[in-house]
Amino acid sequence: MRGGARFPVRLRYTKRGKVRFLGHRDLARNLERAFRVTRLPLAFSEGFSPHPKISFGLALTTGFESDAEYLDVDFREAVDLEALPAALSTELPEGITVADAAWLDDRAPALQEAVTAVVWEVPVTDQHGEPAGAAALRAAVSAALAAETLECTQVRKGRSTIVDIRPLIRRLAIVNQTDRDPRVLLMDLATVPKGAKPGEVMPALGPFTADRGVRTHQFIERDGVRYEPLDVDTRARVAHAVAS
C-alpha cells in the first residue's frame, strides 16, 4: 500500500460548524487541495494518473461534526511536523482544523481497519425533531443496556436489513440533564464487525431521532487497551491548539 514512500504522517483534524454538511468525498478533495496549496512534498502513486497518497479513516456521516477525524499521508521528504498543523489549517475551510500530527510507522495498519471503536455525543430529538423527553430517554437507555439484543434497521445501497446492534454498544450515558437543551447522549460504539450510525441507533432505542452530533473520539484497541490513533504506531506527536 505505501510503496516506496518514506515519510508517512498521521493527522487528526476537526470538522465543526457549517462544514458538517460537506460529504466525505468532497471533504477529501478539500484536504488534497490544501496539501497542494501549502506545497508540501506529497508522495504520489505511480502510474499514468498519479494521485497523492492520502488514506482516510472511517467516513463521517454528512451532517455530523467531529473533533476526532484522522488521515494518513505520505511525503516524499521530511516535513516540519511542528509547522504542519497550522500551515494546513490556514488553507482549509473554517471548521476544519488540523489539530495533531505524528510520524507514522512504516508498517502501521490502515486507519479503516485499525479503528475499532468511536464515541459520539448526540443531541437526541423525538420523531418531530423536538428535544427528547428526559424520562423517556432515561428509560430507553436503561432498557437498551439491559437488553440482550437490539434490532436496528440499516439501509445500505438502497437495501434495508435488520441487524442486532446490542453487541456494538459499549456505553450509553445521558450527559445533559437540563430541561431547556436537547438531551445529549454519549454513545460508545464498536465499529467491528460492522458499525452503526447514531441516526440508526436512536430509532432502535425508542421513538427518537438524531440528525446531528459530534464524534469525539476514535480508538484503536490492542490487547484490551484503547489508544487514540495518534498514540499508537506513531512517534513525535505534535499537538496544536484547536480553536473552538
Binding site: G23, R29, R33, R36, R39, S49, P50, G63, D211
Partner: protein
C-alpha cells in the same frame, strides 16, 4: 440585516447536497454591509454546481467588493427540495456568503446565460419576497437587474426585469452603483426617477422607459418615453483585457461543480464569423490578454487555488497568439505541483497538432471535443465554419496517435439550407473518425453530439425560421438509423422540444413574457433540466396567452421587419448582418477579419475599438479562410499514415476537459 443561518441550518439536514448552501469557498468574501453601501446580490438562476463557476459573476463579485461604496454576495437557485422547505418555513431566498435574506439587498443581479433559466429568474425573485412584475414593485423593493448573453434580446423579460446590462459589466457596475447610492441617500426613494437615471447610463436598458407599438402581430416601433433615454442602447465593451485581470481570487468550491478547475480567460471576442454563433457576434472585437499576463494569472491562480487543472478559456483558444508556447510553458513548469493538466476548451482542429497533443498528454489526457458543426463542406460554408475535412481528420489522427481513445464531435442540425445529404454527412464524418482511430486502438470511439439549431438575435441567422419539433426529430431519427449499426459511434442529441422553447425565448418579444410567467406559475422551474422540462406546459401557456409559438419560432423574417431587439445594439450593423445572411444562402464563406481587411461590420468603427492581437498575421497555413484554398474544403485524404502532422490549413473545434 438578518443572518438567517440558524433558521436555515435545520432545513439542510433534510435536503440533498446541503453543502450547496453553506458558502465558505476559498476566495469567498465576508463583506461588511453598511447603510451607505449599495448591496448587490449576484444570482445565477440555476443550481450552485452550474452557477458557481460562472466567470462573469465572479469578476463582478470582486470588482464590486473592491469598492468602498458597495458590497456583493452570491446566491444560486435552491434545488426543489430546499425550495419546498424554505416556503414551508416561511423563509426567503438567501445569500450563500452571509446567509442574508435576498430582500435585504438593494440589487438582485442575474446572469442570463441560457434562455430556459427565465422561469428560474422569476422563481428566485418571488422567493426573495419581491413581486415578479416590475410594475408591482414598491420603493423598498430591490432593483431586479440582468446581464449576460441572453440580455441581447431582453424583451421576453422586459416586464420582469427592471434593468438590463448589455455587454460587458466590468465598468458599468460602478456607474450603476453610483446611481443606486444616490437613490439610497435620497429621502423619497423615487423608483421611477432612479430607473430613469439608470436608463441614461450607456449600456443599461430599462424596458419601462420604452414603449412598444404594434401593427397587428408585428412591431411598428419601439419608442423611448423620455428625450434623454437613448433610442438605441449600445453594448458596453472594455478596451483592454489586461486592465481587468479578474477574477484574481477564483472561487474554489467545497463541492464538485462544472468546469471545476482554474479558468483563465485568454481573450474575449471572436471574429471567425461563424454565422450561427451569437457569442462570436456580440462580443467583438477580439481583445487578447498579453501572454505574460496569462502566465501570471495561471501561476498565481494555481498557487492560490490548489487546482491541478487549468483551462485557457475564450471562444476559440487556438487563435490566441503564441498558444503553443504558452501551453508548453505551462506543462513543463510543474515544479512541486505534482502535475497540472491543461485543457483548451474551444480549440480549432487545425491547431490540434501532434505537438500540442503530445504536450497535453504529458500530464493527463483531458477530454477532447472537436466541433465541425455541420456534416458537409457546403453547409459549413453556409454557416461560415470553414473547417476543411482533411484538417478534422488530421486532428483526429493526431489525438489517436497520442493515445486518446475517444473524442466528442459537436454538430448542429436544422441549419439554413440543410438538406438530408448534409445531415447524413454527420454520420459519414463520425464513421471516418472511428476508422482513423482503429489504426491505433481497437477501442477507438467517437461520441457525436447533435443539437437542434436555435437562431439567435444579432446574428446573420436572426431572420431564419427554425426547424420545428417534428423536422428536428426526423433529422435526429435519420442519424440514429444511420449510426445504429456502427460500432464505436455513440449518438447524443439535444431534445428538439427544448430547442423549440429556446427558440421562443431567443427571438421572442414582450408578449412572450406572460408565457414565461405562466410556465413558472404552473411549476415549470429548472427548465434546463430534461427531467423537469415539458414542452406541453409551454404550449399550454402560449394558448392561454394567445401567443402563436410558431410565429416566433419557425417563421422566416424578411429584411425590413422590425425585430424585437433592434433597439439593442451589439455594434453590428443590420445591413451587414443581412448581407452576411445573403452570402450564407449563396454558400459563400467569409474569412476572419482579424487578419484580413475590415468588412465594416460596425463594431470597431462605431465604438472606436480595435482588435488587440499580439500576432498581426494569420496562423501558418492560414485559418478560417485566410490564406486557404477554399475550393478543396471537402477533399479527403485517401489514406492516413501514422504520425501525420497537421500544422497547416484551417478550421475550428473545441477541446474540453
Amino acid at each position: 440585516m438578518s443572518n438567517l443561518w440558524p433558521r436555515i441550518e435545520p432545513l439542510l439536514a433534510k435536503v440533498e447536497k446541503p453543502a450547496r448552501y453553506i458558502g465558505m469557498e476559498r476566495g469567498a468574501l465576508a463583506p461588511e454591509h453598511a447603510p451607505g453601501k449599495v448591496a448587490w446580490l449576484l444570482l445565477y438562476p440555476d443550481t450552485y454546481e452550474i452557477g458557481l463557476p460562472n466567470q462573469g459573476l465572479q469578476i463582478l463579485y470582486e470588482i464590486l467588493n473592491e469598492r468602498d461604496d458597495a458590497v456583493a454576495e452570491r446566491s444560486y437557485a435552491p434545488w426543489l427540495d430546499l425550495e419546498a422547505q424554505l416556503r414551508a418555513a416561511g423563509l426567503p431566498l438567501f445569500s450563500v456568503d452571509s446567509h442574508r435574506a435576498a430582500g435585504d439587498f438593494d440589487v438582485l443581479a442575474f446572469n442570463l446565460s441560457a434562455e430556459l433559466v427565465a422561469t428560474n429568474l422569476l422563481n428566485l425573485v418571488d422567493l426573495a419576497g419581491v413581486p415578479v412584475r416590475n410594475e408591482d414593485r414598491a420603493p423598498h423593493h430591490p432593483i431586479v437587474l440582468a446581464g449576460g448573453h441572453c440580455s441581447f434580446n431582453p424583451e421576453p423579460l422586459a416586464e420582469y426585469v427592471d434593468a438590463f446590462v448589455i455587454g460587458e459589466g466590468e465598468e458599468v457596475v460602478g456607474e450603476i452603483t453610483d446611481v443606486l447610492a444616490e437613490w439610497k441617500r435620497s429621502a423619497r426613494r423615487d423608483r421611477d426617477r432612479m430607473l430613469h437615471d439608470l436608463a441614461t447610463i450607456p449600456g443599461v436598458y430599462v424596458p419601462s422607459m420604452y414603449e412598444v407599438v404594434y401593427d397587428g402581430p408585428r412591431i411598428a416601433a419601439v419608442l423611448p418615453r423620455h428625450a434623454d433615454v437613448p433610442a438605441l442602447v449600445d453594448k458596453r465593451t472594455i478596451a483592454d483585457l489586461d486592465a481587468w485581470p479578474y477574477p484574481k481570487h477564483q472561487l474554489v468550491p467545497l463541492i464538485e461543480v462544472v468546469h471545476d478547475r482554474l479558468n483563465v480567460e485568454v481573450f474575449r471576442g471572436c471574429t471567425r464569423g461563424c454565422r450561427f454563433c451569437q457569442a462570436g457576434m456580440i462580443t467583438r472585437p477580439v481583445r487578447e490578454r498579453s501572454a505574460d499576463s496569462v502566465r501570471t494569472m495561471v501561476r498565481d491562480g494555481l498557487r492560490r487555488t490548489g487546482y491541478d487543472e487549468v483551462a485557457l478559456t475564450s471562444l476559440s483558444t487556438a487563435d490566441f497568439s503564441g498558444i503553443e508556447r504558452v501551453v508548453a510553458d505551462l506543462v513543463n513548469d510543474q515544479e512541486g505541483t505534482g502535475g497540472v493538466s491543461v485543457s483548451l476548451p474551444s480549440l480549432r482542429v487545425d491547431a490540434f497538432t501532434v505537438g500540442i497533443a503530445s504536450e497535453i498528454q504529458k500530464v493527463r489526457r483531458t477530454g477532447l471535443t472537436f466541433a465541425p458543426e455541420a456534416g458537409s463542406w457546403r453547409l459549413r460554408q453556409v454557416i461560415n465554419k470553414l473547417v476543411l475535412e482533411e484538417d478534422l481528420y488530421a486532428a483526429v489522427d493526431a489525438a489517436y496517435s497520442q493515445g486518446w481513445r475517444r473524442m466528442k464531435l459537436y454538430f448542429l442540425t436544422g441549419l439554413p439550407t440543410e438538406i438530408d445529404d448534409d445531415t447524413r454527412g454527420i454520420s459519414a464524418l463520425a464513421r471516418a473518425c472511428v476508422d482513423i482511430g482503429r489504426q491505433y486502438t481497437k477501442q477507438a470511439s467517437v461520441t457525436v453530439s447533435v443539437g437542434g439549431f436555435v437562431p439567435k438575435a444579432h446574428t446573420p441567422f436572426q431572420w431564419f425560421g427554425q426547424n420545428g419539433v417534428a423536422e428536428l426529430r426526423r433529422k435526429v431519427g435519420m442519424l440514429r438509423d444511420d449510426l445504429r449499426a456502427t460500432r464505436g459511434v455513440q449518438l447524443k442529441w439535444h431534445d428538439p422540444e427544448a430547442s423549440f422553447a429556446e427558440g421562443l425565448l431567443s427571438r421572442g418579444d414582450r408578449r412572450v413574457g406572460r408565457v414565461v410567467e405562466r410556465v413558472w406559475r404552473a411549476g415549470g422551474t429548472f427548465q434546463e433540466w430534461s427531467e423537469h422540462f415539458a414542452l406541453d406546459r409551454w404550449l399550454e401557456a402560449c394558448a392561454a396567452e394567445g401567443v402563436d409559438p410558431d410565429w416566433y419560432v419557425t417563421r422566416h423574417r424578411d429584411e425590413h421587419e422590425i425585430l424585437p431587439w433592434d433597439h439593442i445594439a451589439a455594434g453590428l450593423h443590420k445591413d451587414f448582418l443581412w448581407l452576411d445572411w445573403t452570402a450564407a444562402l449563396a454558400e459563400h464563406g467569409l474569412p476572419d477579419c482579424r487578419w484580413t481587411p475590415c468588412y465594416d461590420c460596425g463594431v470597431c468603427t462605431d465604438y472606436a475599438l480595435e482588435h488587440v492581437v499580439a500576432s498581426p498575421v494569420a496562423p501558418a497555413g492560414g485559418s478560417q479562410g485566410t490564406g486557404q484554398d477554399l475550393a478543396r474544403g471537402d477533399s479527403v485524404p485517401i489514406k492516413f499514415t501514422t504520425g501525420r502532422s497537421s500544422k497547416h490549413l484551417a478550421s475550428s473545434a473545441r477541446i474540453t476537459a
